[in-house]
Symmetry: C2
Subunit: 340 residues, 2 copies
């Protein structure tokens, strides 16, 4: 499906995986095996796997940001390991809370080992992420740990909001964007800056890189939400129409409900029903999101966020080839072909 | 029930609670309310409460350890806040994993708000604990964060072992002690040293204080396990016999099963049954633990651990009055009158 991976993703897999394995090796044997399965390194019974794991977007950003500060890519590795661990901590806990039984075409950890294991291995990954940074003996270690701690708080805050949305009838587009900024944007913002922070970069560069990552996060979430309605299940690993069936307040849906007009009202009425839904109903609801403008808005908003991300980079003196790699990476992960 | 609180516990409540409230105030409004309930500050609906909260043992140790390093008690406050947050993170997740519906005579967080809230508020507390330390602008901040990160890993490792024990028929006394060293000892060891670390104390002092806390943790766990069998439900908040009904591999039970002899064999046979248990059966099992030597051993072992804790202090040049406070505190929390 993914033909030509951008260089930063390839480089991240090569440079970061050994360090990530070292970090995971420090866990107790049970958690280590579970983490290795979740990260796509082994099957549930410990045999080698052909699974692909994640696409290492956050590690790639961390290495790029080290290079943006004029340092070698490998100086960003501890930051890359830390953000990838926080990302995977959140996946482990989110899959459990959302009751999702599949991720990346494989059974989720809680579905294989139960809720307690998913909780504990997530906890261990979060604790390890911080430990990797505070254990560093470089001056940038503590500032990087600060950045990560703040981003982790925002990530959790976003997840709290997401869960609260489930119990509400409607959610405004602004609330939905604020939630996504926490749940998706904060850690991408941190990833895009942490390599620079580790290398003592200027506040100006760190701010620009953080903005790039924050905006990329929103673009990414918009594309992910579009895939949750119109996406192709085979490539995303999500059944088509899943978000509508789940009555999820995703960005295109929230926009469509708030837009007003006949399609908007019909959509809101349907969302207030509780299923089970026929394929025809889901298909009709999908048309309504589009008719109410949700698809067009989300596509345009993703584009605007992507432009804002690129603009933030333009305000720095990052070397042109590195800036191009940031831009290419952002476009790649928001084309809708990459898995969320 | 508790008539005269030792000075360090009283001081900890006074000095630490305002800072702990500040840390909790930084959470999102939902998590803040849940954390305030869990910490005993408000009722579930937000009204003021007459609940007592925990006894602030870990904060008290953190302040004492600052004083042991010749610094004022309040220099240990960030460490006290951090260890108390990690302790409460673990309680939130453990109560959920263990299915416990009551703690300190009140409904547990997951029982009131559901599993997802308990997971997320626990996560937020863990992230905040690290944040409190890495955000400090003192030279001891990062070493303290390192100490906390390592202790958190041990704590999680202990909980992983505890859960694994549930799926096994028997557990050796050594395994059980190693589990308790992680689950209970590590954070007490960290608490008893973190104030000294924040103040740049010598490695020798830090090691001695950590040993004191580690040993106190084991003594504490032994007493807690004794209460789980013979304790008085009104003062402990645990129903008498709960550990036997739950077939928990607690320290006195593991010792009794491994001891050999008629009582040991009868106990093992009964533990292999799956209930429901009559009061007579639980009463008989309780007698068997005692007959097999589990009670006497646990009492003696707790005393040995307490002596080791005191001995560790004796190898330092801590001021005599402060050493006495450490000793008094350890004795107070292991008399069996204090809540675990």
């Amino acid at each position: 499906m993914i033909s030509a991976l951008p260089f930063p993703l390839t480089q991240a897999r090569e440079l970061v995986e050994p360090a990530l394995r070292d970090a995971v090796d420090r866990l107790d044997p049970t958690s280590r095996q579970v983490a290795a399965y979740h990260l796509g390194w082994v099957e549930a019974d410990g045999r080698p796997t052909s699974a692909s794991g994640g696409k290492a977007l956050r590690p790639a950003l961390a290495l790029l940001s080290a290079r943006a500060a004029g340092a070698p890519a490998d100086s960003g590795v501890p930051g890359a390991v830390a953000v990838e661990l926080v990302h995977n901590f959140s996946l482990l806990h989110d899959d459990l809370m959302d009751g999702d039984v599949q991720r990346r075409h494989r059974a989720t950890v809680w579905a294989v080992w139960g809720a307690s294991t998913a909780i504990l291995v997530g906890d261990a990954m979060l604790a390890t992420a911080q430990q990797v940074l505070v254990d560093l003996e470089v001056p940038g270690g503590t500032p990087a740990a600060r950045l990560l701690a703040a981003a982790t708080q925002e990530l959790i805050r976003g997840q709290v909001a997401d869960l609260a949305f489930e119990r509400r009838a409607t959610v405004s587009v602004e609330e939905c964007l604020a939630m996504a900024a926490g749940k998706t944007g904060a850690l991408l913002g941190c990833s895009a800056a942490i390599g620079a922070v580790l290398n003592g970069a200027s506040e100006r560069l760190v701010t620009a890189l953080t903005t790039y990552g924050d905006e990329l996060g929103l673009a990414f979430q918009l594309v992910d939400d579009l895939l949750g309605i119109w996406g192709d299940g085979a490539s995303t690993g999500k059944p088509v129409g899943a978000d509508l069936r789940a009555r999820k307040k995703s960005l295109p849906i929230s926009f469509a409900v708030a837009a007003g007009g006949a399609a908007s009202v019909e959509l809101a009425d349907w969302l207030a029903t509780s299923g089970p839904d026929s394929d025809e109903e889901v298909s009709r609801a999908t048309e309504l999101v589009e008719a109410a403008g949700g698809r067009e808005w989300a596509q345009a908003e993703a584009q605007r966020r992507l432009s804002a991300a690129e603009r933030a980079l333009g305000e720095t003196d990052i070397e042109a080839t590195i800036r191009d790699e940031f831009v290419e990476l952002a476009r790649f992960v928001t084309t809708g072909r990459a898995e969320p």
